[in-house]
């Protein structure tokens, strides 16, 4: 393990490219390290959302009727619009990274601004949706009221099922099952929205740094890393949208 002679590579405090931090030998090593670190972070985020999505699947398996009923009650046109908005923001983010690579400061700022606006529209619509749930008494644990609708009672009357010998296995009433669905809806979209808000704050910071010429075609790695984060948050939505909004729409006859 020892070396034959301590060959000089770079002196520990030697001369560096000004944008290379002291612990790295060169820009390439720095870029690779940041990249890998960011991917490791994304992996940890994937596991974070996976935990929640596992909960979703467990309850969807347990309470299929309630999930159809609850899902069909969500606002599909609005969320479809939001999906388009968010996917567009991924495009503008990718264009921002491209502008940073080329060193086009103004275009970088414009695309970051566009990303920020699209993200804010998404969050605004989300706030409206939450408000709508509040008005319709659909906040679980707070003001939840669920009037069983005719379209879902056919299979959904869990209370009519024969009493199980094990009281722990007794199915809760449909309204409570739907409440679990709405609980998961708020937890999943809420966790996603928090990630969006954090992303929006980071965009603002990056814009300030870019304004003061912090980045160059040699050093744009923070923008690229943030781009990864933003795309990841979009991909989470690509999973959440069908899981929450598109449950068996056709079978239930739409809404």
């Amino acid at each position: 393990m020892s070396l034959a002679t301590p060959t000089v590579d770079t002196h520990a405090t030697g001369h560096h490219h000004p944008e290379v931090r002291h612990q790295f030998d060169d820009l390439e090593q720095q870029h690779d390290s940041y990249s890998l670190g960011m991917w490791a972070f994304v992996v940890q985020e994937v596991m974070f959302f996976s935990g929640m999505i596992v909960c979703y699947f467990i309850f969807r398996y347990k309470y299929p009727e309630a999930f159809i009923a609850g899902s069909n009650h969500l606002n599909l046109p609005l969320s479809t619009f939001n999906t388009v908005v968010l996917l567009s923001s991924s495009l503008t983010m990718a264009l921002a990274v491209h502008a940073a690579q080329l060193g086009h400061k103004m275009r970088l700022l414009q695309f970051l601004m566009a990303t920020l606006i699209l993200g804010s529209i998404f969050l605004g619509v989300k706030v409206y949706e939450y408000k709508d749930k509040y008005d319709h008494n659909l906040i679980p644990g707070y003001n939840f009221k669920w009037e069983t609708e005719s379209t879902t009672t056919e299979h959904g009357e869990a209370t009519d099922e024969p009493e199980s010998l094990n009281p722990a296995l007794k199915m809760p009433p449909l309204a409570q099952q739907v409440e679990v669905f709405y609980g998961l809806y708020f937890i999943l979209t809420g966790a996603h929205a928090i990630h969006m808000v954090i992303g929006a704050v980071i965009i603002l910071i990056i814009m300030v740094l870019a304004w003061y010429d912090h980045f160059s075609p040699n050093y744009y790695v923070p923008i690229e890393m943030f781009g990864l984060y933003w795309h990841f948050v979009d991909i989470v939505w690509v999973f959440l949208f069908p899981l929450l909004y598109l449950v068996d729409r056709a079978a239930a006859g739409g809404h």
Binding site: H22, S33, L36, M47, V54, G141, Y142, L184, I187
Partner: protein, 577 residues
Amino acid sequence: MNTNITSVSQTHSGTEAAKMPEQHYLNAGYDLKSWLLTTDHKRIAVLYFILITFFFFVGGLFAALIRLELVTPKGDLLTADVYNRVFTAHGAVMIFLFLIPSIPATFGNFLIPLMIGARDLAFPRLNLLSWYVYALSSILFVTVVLLGGVDTGWTFYAPLSTSFANGYVVLTIVAAFFAGFSSIFTGINFIATIHKMRAPGMTWFRLPLYVWGHYATSLIIILGTPVVAIALILIAVERVFRIGIFDPALGGDPILFQHLFWFYSHPAVYIMVLPGMGVISEVIGCFSRKRVFGYKFIAFSSMAIALVGFLVWGHHMYVSGQSVYAGMVFSLITYVVAIPSAIKVFNWTATMYKGTIYLQTPMIYALSFIGLFIIGGITGVVLASMAADVHLHDTYFVVAHFHYVMVGSAVTAYLAAVHFWWPKITGRMYSEFFGKLAAIITFIGFNLTFLPQFVVGYLGMPRRYYDYSFAPEWQIWHAASTLGSTVLAVGFALPVFYLTYSLIYGEIAGQNPWGAKGLEWEEASSPPAKFNFDKMPIVNQEAYAYDTPARGQTHFRGVTSRESLSIPPTSAETSHI
């Protein structure tokens, strides 16, 4: 800048007085700012070391209360409620504030860049942030304890934690969440560093096994910790907003919590023990003066433990209502995970076979690790079989088993690491006599504490009971255990004194006091320079090439000069692959 590492004349000068390097990381600045705002991985490691040591003794204090209560069959020292809070505090502090960060955050931080030949970790500021997040978490934990504690057990089982517990559950969860974040930051840092920052010539299979252990640990951290983080958040959400996820009264599923919780918390045991196994590989290699036997098997067994360890969580839930078929699968996979663990034990033993063994303090800890880990591991296999577990579940047999793994293995390895790298970190030698004394007292005290618990657990003593007046004949076992814990406390307290003493009065260690192989010994001074190496190293040797002389001024206390660490006076310039 430091001792002249190229000088051959100094490499075997066991009798010459060693000198401290003129400049090193410890004298690079003395003000508070130079510590609290440092990005030097070595200083951050020292910061971690101070806090972690403190919380080890806080956790130990709670353990002492538990043992005192159990001396008599009646619950006469604490009330039932206080007892619940005490064992919860003991578990939470020991696991979240001591065991999980213990070796990675201190010795991993300090040694990984030194061992792979880098100036620092890949993300030094993230590293500092992780310490602050840890400190924040520890402040929250202390706040919870001062406010009156929490009574759910460290496992936070629902619906007890969401609907019934009276303590400060949410605050504890926030604290645990921050502790998790801190270790995620460390894990990301280690992965990027080990992948991208290795010195020229430091191929994957030349890495010290210690680094392999940390790599496997980091994978577990980033794959597992987020899952327990979300499980704990959901507990808080259910408790605060009454949104039903786990409480059946709200439509939730309590078994789901146990699945999410153990998906992380079983691999968390490997977070505690894999770095410890890495330590043992280093120590055994050094004090047997032999290349570690079966290098690749040990390296890959770490990876195997990390991966298979993710598939065994259900063995905590045999009696929870989980399906019997799931239980059978989890049982089989749990048997499988014993194989890579056994490979390590056999390989360490084979390393010592025909080695030149020096029974220095770290080696004594390493040997007790092997013995205690075998007992902890094999009783784990017993518990993995469903039929036995139905009887033994939630008894002191389980308590004894996981203390053999967490204390007997993880803490013993931690102490081996403290004693092995103390000269490197501080530049000073501690008293070998007191070191050996503490190691032997710890071994005796540990076994006296936990062997009786196997017996009393097998007889049926349930865990988490503060009163066993229904079976007063068990008192002899509990009294023995409490007696042992007193001895153990002496063993743990001794190092505080002689190590602190060594900081000022200890003999100067010299660059490579053990004559060990490895970049941290052969290329860095003791204590290392601010940016670790004077000249960035190039590696052209396997790890543990003990058939060639180790470089660096050697100063081996306690070994007669006749051997002078069996380093032949040949040129240190020659090297073999």
